[in-house]
Symmetry: C2
């Protein structure tokens, strides 16, 4: 069985993480894989911000929790994350950024890490606090948050893949 | 080097295809890989329509050409394609559908096929002709076209990966 197809079938969203930080080299490999996602007309509208700084990670978690309306950690204890944003002036930006997220999640799985797409990046980086972070990160431009890919070593066993809905695929 | 990361680095959009139809089994494997993409809250908002019927393929190509404002084949001669649509009532549908497209393109590459995301599926399936096709395919619901993944054996050599922009990734 092709290793790539197997990786796709077995990847699951991970919702419990160990506190251990994955090595920098592993994060670099994952981010690089993300950057190689296809983009509309090859314009590479997305950017990837790898967050390993604990203070920034916690700040993003708090912001995310506020938009979700909870006080728990929406990042499930993951020690690090990658924020994907994309240049809104490029018509395909939302599709482009999503493809980056897909590569990040699959690359993480390929290297033995758990990951999960956490939404509300759009709201987070549209608010003044998020806009200040973008400025601090040197991101000047009209960026929209696409998603957070939280990352880390899974806590416990990963669940088996969920069954696919029966009418997912049809041939014509 | 991890096979999955290598596949991500070497995948390119293919813009010239041989007329030969890939075997049904290969298309089934690719569509299955697509269906295993992550989706918001595991709701599986997308569907995949595998088009091998020449008449339907040509009809979609003509519709697409009209929206693009050309008379050439926007599918680059690819003998088949997969249309990804997603249920608009699910808030994450656009991100979900894009992840399916990403899996399709990478799975195709893993099996030695070329592929390319062709846009304008949104416009195509919003117009009366597209709406009729959805009905014909048994797709009842509020579906939006996410993309066409055109597929086939590449004609000639695939180009080397394009360089990534220098500021694609930053660490904080």
């Amino acid at each position: 069985m092709n290793a790539i197809l197997t990786a796709m079938h077995t990847r699951r969203s991970c919702r419990a993480y160990q506190a251990t930080m994955p090595p920098r080299d592993m994060l670099e490999q994952i981010a690089k894989a993300g950057s190689y996602a296809a983009s509309g007309r090859g314009k590479q509208s997305p950017v990837i911000v790898v967050v390993t700084d604990k203070e920034t990670r916690d700040q993003l978690s708090s912001m995310n929790a506020r938009f979700l309306g909870v006080s728990s950690d929406p990042f499930y204890g993951a020690p690090c994350l990658m924020v994907v944003l994309a240049e809104k002036t490029i018509p395909t930006y939302l599709y482009d950024g999503s493809l980056v997220m897909g590569n990040l999640m699959l690359a993480a799985h390929a290297l033995g890490l758990g990951s999960c797409w956490i939404h509300r990046a759009k709201e987070e980086f549209a608010c003044p606090e998020g806009q200040r972070l973008l400025k601090q990160w040197g991101l000047i431009g009209d960026y929209e948050g696409i998603g957070h890919c939280v990352l880390g070593y899974p806590m416990g066993e990963m669940p088996a893949p969920q069954a696919r809905k029966p009418d997912y695929i049809r041939f014509v």
